[in-house]
């Protein structure tokens, strides 16, 4: 499974990558971007299976990236998990309205990450089966 990790802090990208590998995802298939603009360029250039993004980033924020993904026919079905320090009601609602698949508030545990990922894949499998 090809995953794109988007965060402006290199530490956080590395932590998320580390956790994903720990959860059994293949390290070489995980790629990184440091803001929404670069992420979008990478998503357009090659096929990914999932995006894990921060909210607060320069140039293009996570919510803008999510909206851009949902607006593009080729990308709109891509699962997006937000991993962010933004935890106020309005922002969570905005992410939900923009069509986020999961939302994790930092700091989080590996257990939380696993739970949210499992839930995303369960829902995708269910919607795939009913379609």
């Amino acid at each position: 499974m090809k995953i794109l990790v988007v965060d402006d802090f290199s530490t956080m990208r590395r932590i998320v990558r580390n956790l994903l590998v720990e959860l059994g995802f293949s390290n070489p298939l995980i790629q990184e971007a440091d803001d929404g603009n670069n992420a979008l360029t990478m998503l357009r250039a090659s096929a990914f299976d999932m995006v894990v993004t921060d909210w607060n980033m320069p140039n293009m924020t996570g919510i803008e990236l999510l909206q851009a993904i949902r607006a593009e026919p080729k990308l709109k079905g891509l699962p997006v998990l937000m991993v962010t320090a933004e935890n106020n009601r309005e922002q969570i609602i905005a992410a939900a309205q923009a069509g986020v698949n999961g939302y994790i508030v930092k700091p989080f545990t590996a257990v939380t990450l696993k739970e949210k990922l499992d839930k995303i894949f369960e829902r995708l499998a269910a919607s795939g089966a009913s379609a």
Binding site: F9, T11, N56, A85, F108
Partner: protein, 213 residues
């Protein structure tokens, strides 16, 4: 105003009292205007002095901090905060390097112990007992390393807080300058063109001097 009604207010200046009691409406209004304007000028001058004092206090604070080896300008403060981000990021990466180095070691220990147990799974043989202990230790290390990775995410959170503080400092600075601009405009001097952002101490001093503070 009924000029025949006696005015008893002793607190009014005598010239206003006299005008109030006179029949000359225009002279009365002019006197009133002058009085109001004088009072406004006093108020604005007082505001100006206040802004000047505030600016002085901020400057003194800046130089006091400089004497303590602390930043003495907004630019310095921002640089210091950038250094904090850089240092905490380096520390987090070194911890993650350590995890990357130790994880395979723990996995290898666990695998080696399993190989020993395949060969000798006795409950009492010291080699088998040690192999089991090694497996428990390797598993505990793996969990500990995972926790250590997660703890590093505080660096990211702390970094975001620092970035917000930088933004707050900038907004306080520009609000203060906006206040100076407004008080200057109210004091009857021509207001300078829109102050977008004042970044250096020189610019602050220049702006203040435009209003005679």
């Amino acid at each position: 105003m009924n000029a025949t009604m006696p005015l008893m207010d002793e607190s009014m200046p005598p010239e206003v009292l006299a005008l109030l009691n006179s029949a000359d409406g225009t002279a009365f209004e002019q006197a009133l205007d002058t009085m109001v304007r004088q009072r406004e000028q006093h108020l604005f001058r007082a505001l100006g002095v206040l802004a000047r004092d505030l600016h002085g206090a901020v400057s003194r604070l800046g130089s006091d901090l400089a004497n303590e080896g602390m930043p003495d300008s907004m630019a310095d403060a921002r640089n210091h905060l950038a250094e904090v981000l850089e240092m905490s990021s380096k520390a987090a990466h070194r911890s993650l390097d350590f995890v990357d180095r130790m994880r395979p070691e723990a996995e290898a220990l666990s695998a080696n112990a399993a190989a020993v147990l395949d060969f000798n799974s006795s409950e009492t043989d010291p080699a088998a007992v040690l192999a089991r202990q090694a497996q428990v230790f390797a598993a505990a290390c793996g969990e500990g390393l995972n926790d250590m990775v997660l703890v590093q995410s505080w660096q990211d959170l702390a970094g975001q807080r620092v970035k917000k503080v930088v933004g707050f400092i900038e907004s306080v600075e520009s609000s203060l300058m906006e206040l100076v601009r407004l008080t200057g405009a109210l004091a009857g001097r021509e207001a300078p063109v829109e102050v977008a952002k004042v970044s250096s101490q020189d610019e602050v001093d220049r702006l203040l001097s435009e209003f005679g503070f």
